[in-house]
């Protein structure tokens, strides 16, 4: 009984909404947690896209990024009857059952900026910032160019279990071992700061103490690179040890400005939101297909291809940030 009146109310609402805006696609993005500048930028991509194409956008996120905290938010969006759920999942498998019930309702489920590896059958497609298989090689080239392709380097990572970081570190090891260009560089240590500023600082101090000849440090995590730069800045050894890695322009700006860090890399989270909304609206309108190998055009990004596993990359290589371009980015 309740449900019937509910359906009637929803239908009435849909009718009245239909009159004001013709069949806009309702997109919601479920972030990992609130108060994360990285996701502010990603969200802005959705917001800007929905100003130029036919979609309504809302952002929701739990207070904490633990594995199950997104579930009530997903249930709520299913209940609201949105058309598209985009999500940066906090767990590779705890959300499977909820994704299943969303898709049973005809909701398009896109994972953005992180995938549910091993459970890909529970989402429709994934939008990743860049080709993760190239991150390791890009980072080695970056540190190589800073130290003149010669000397000892070390890696300051996140946790020992972090899947993305471990994948990239594997790529770094392979690149150093196999590419003759880097034959004079040796990777002397890989340490883990657990993505905590204090622990990352301690690990960085330990690296400097244990390897006095260290020339470069790659920190492929935003917490790690900021901590490493802080140590180098306070010791005033920027000309002896080059810090690079993956960082946020907003957090690294001061280190670039005072010369502590010459360059670091990342991708543009903004483009993920921009692409995701264009892709979602295209799929819902039938102008795009979600098939491996299919291509489509996205304004400003060019031709995008759907890769194996319905995986889409917003850019082919990492963006390098340095003193010249750092002010163009605000995330």
């Amino acid at each position: 009984m309740l449900k019937k009146s509910m359906i009637a109310a929803t239908a009435a609402l849909a009718l009245s909404a239909g009159m004001s805006a013709a069949e806009d696609i309702d997109i919601v993005f479920v972030g990992k947690n609130t108060g994360n500048p990285y996701f502010d930028s990603l969200t802005q991509g959705f917001v800007d896209a929905c100003e130029v194409i036919a979609c309504n956008f809302e952002f929701v996120a739990p207070a904490t990024a633990e594995a199950t905290s997104q579930i009530p938010f997903l249930e709520a969006q299913i209940q609201r009857g949105v058309d598209v759920i985009a999500i940066s999942p906090n767990s590779p498998d705890a959300l499977n059952q909820v994704f299943q019930s969303a898709r049973d309702q005809g909701i398009l489920v896109l994972t953005v900026n992180g995938d549910i590896t091993g459970n890909e059958q529970f989402r429709d497609a994934t939008i990743l910032p860049t080709d993760f298989t190239k991150v390791g090689a890009d980072q080695i080239e970056m540190v190589g160019s800073l130290i003149g392709y010669e000397g000892e380097i070390a890696i300051l990572s996140a946790t020992t279990e972090a899947p993305d970081q471990n994948f990239w570190i594997e790529g770094m090891n392979e690149t150093i071992a196999n590419d003759p260009k880097y034959a004079n560089m040796t990777l002397v240590a890989t340490v883990y700061g657990d993505d905590q500023p204090e622990k990352s600082t301690t690990e960085m101090e330990a690296l400097l103490a244990n390897y006095p000849d260290l020339k470069g440090v790659i920190a492929p995590t935003t917490v790690g690179i900021a901590a490493a730069a802080q140590v180098v800045q306070s010791r005033g050894i920027a000309d002896q040890v080059k810090v690079t890695g993956l960082g946020l322009p907003s957090e690294m700006r001061e280190f670039i400005k005072d010369g502590t860090v010459e360059g670091f890399q990342l991708w543009s989270p903004y483009n993920e939101g921009w692409l995701a909304s264009h892709f979602a609206v295209g799929l819902k309108n039938g102008t795009m297909t979600n098939e491996v190998g299919a291509t489509f055009e996205v304004p400003n990004l060019g031709t995008i291809t759907i890769n194996d596993g319905n995986s889409i990359n917003t850019q082919s290589a990492l963006t390098t940030f340095n003193a010249e371009n750092i002010d163009d980015f605000d995330f």
Binding site: M6, A9, T10, P72, R80, D93, T160
Partner: protein
């Protein structure tokens, strides 16, 4: 002269009228807040007032709510246990690890329950036998159990077999099974606490343990029993959560102990023991689901949600203390 006059006046003071006894109690306040929450949430979002959605949302916290019912009895007896959420995680991890290692499913469930029992026993041993304050003991075991869970499961998640997944999709007369279990446990514990001798004794121990001992009540045995039941029920709840999620991680219901205590407090259980009812916790569990679901489906920010929940708790505690102060026996 004055003494006898005063005692005469005291004897003449009228007994509380029946309506007063029935209505002026913390549960009434919880119930009113619940109604208020329902109405408010319906105004907040047109998508809220749908029985199946509310029931589905309740399944997300049903496991914790079941544990909160038992925790209510522990608090009434004058103790506290902050480790049940960690117990849920560790039991579920041990269960998942056992079945992954090839233990038959029913046996793995029993292993999980036994693990929960052992955790309850450890809490009881230190709190009751060694006479250490249960709040300190269980803060310790909360960290210990959670740590052990991480040792067993690492940072990965352990899958549970497909046949074990989906307790929340089993419907009994249109109601999800976890909700049915919650109601069943509430009725059972309500009867135990409200109508049996043991129930009476739990209140007496919580009100005045020394007096209860003089009255011949074996307070230690009852408290140990409560800790053991809480341990087993937590383990069962942990495995229910595993069935709902389809996988187990060490951070299952991380921070859940606060929500359980919150349910008991919102339902009018007195933190220093002796007072409280299962009905109160039962209503509070629904109140929390109604309030948070209403705000989530209206896309309100978590910051606002936390603020509202904080205000609710403060209101509840002030009201509970006020009511108890006025109705002192």
């Amino acid at each position: 002269m004055t003494d006898s006059a005063q005692s005469a006046i005291r004897e003449l003071a009228p007994a509380r009228p029946t309506w007063h006894v029935v209505l002026v109690r913390p549960e009434t306040m919880t119930f009113l807040l619940l109604i208020f929450g329902l109405v408010g949430a319906s105004f907040l979002s047109p998508f809220f007032l749908d029985a199946s959605y509310i029931l589905r949302s309740f399944t997300l916290t049903a496991e914790m709510s079941i544990v909160a019912l038992v925790l209510t009895m522990v608090v009434i007896s004058g103790e506290i246990d902050l480790s049940p959420a960690a117990n849920m995680a560790l039991s579920a991890c041990i269960f998942a690890w056992a079945q992954e290692a090839g233990t038959p499913l029913p046996l793995a469930v029993i292993v999980g329950l036994l693990a929960g029992l052992a955790m309850g026993a450890l809490n009881a041993f230190m709190s009751i036998r060694m006479q250490l304050p249960s709040i300190i003991v269980t803060i310790g075991t909360l960290i210990f159990y959670r740590g052990l869970a991480q040792v067993i499961a690492g940072d990965r998640s352990i899958r549970v077999p497909d046949s074990f997944i989906g307790i929340n999709t089993i419907m009994i007369a249109g109601i999800p099974l976890p909700v049915v279990i919650f109601v069943g446990v509430a009725v059972l514990l309500g009867l135990v606490l409200g109508t049996t001798v043991v129930g009476r004794q739990i209140y007496q121990i919580g009100t005045n343990q020394a007096a209860a001992l003089h009255a011949g009540i074996n307070a230690k045995r009852i408290k140990v029993g409560l800790f053991l039941v809480l341990g087993v029920v937590s383990a069962a709840a942990g495995m229910m959560a595993a069935s709902r999620l389809g996988s187990v991680r060490y951070d299952l219901v991380l921070g859940g102990e606060l929500q359980m205590v919150l349910m008991a407090m919102l339902g009018g259980t007195y933190i220093f023991g002796g007072r409280g009812t299962i009905l109160g916790t039962f209503l509070a569990a629904w109140l929390l689901v109604i309030v948070s679901t209403g705000m989530t489906v209206a896309n309100l920010l978590p910051a606002i949600q936390l603020t509202v929940l904080g205000i609710l708790l403060i209101v509840a505690i002030i009201a509970t203390n006020f009511i108890y102060a006025r109705t002192q026996r």
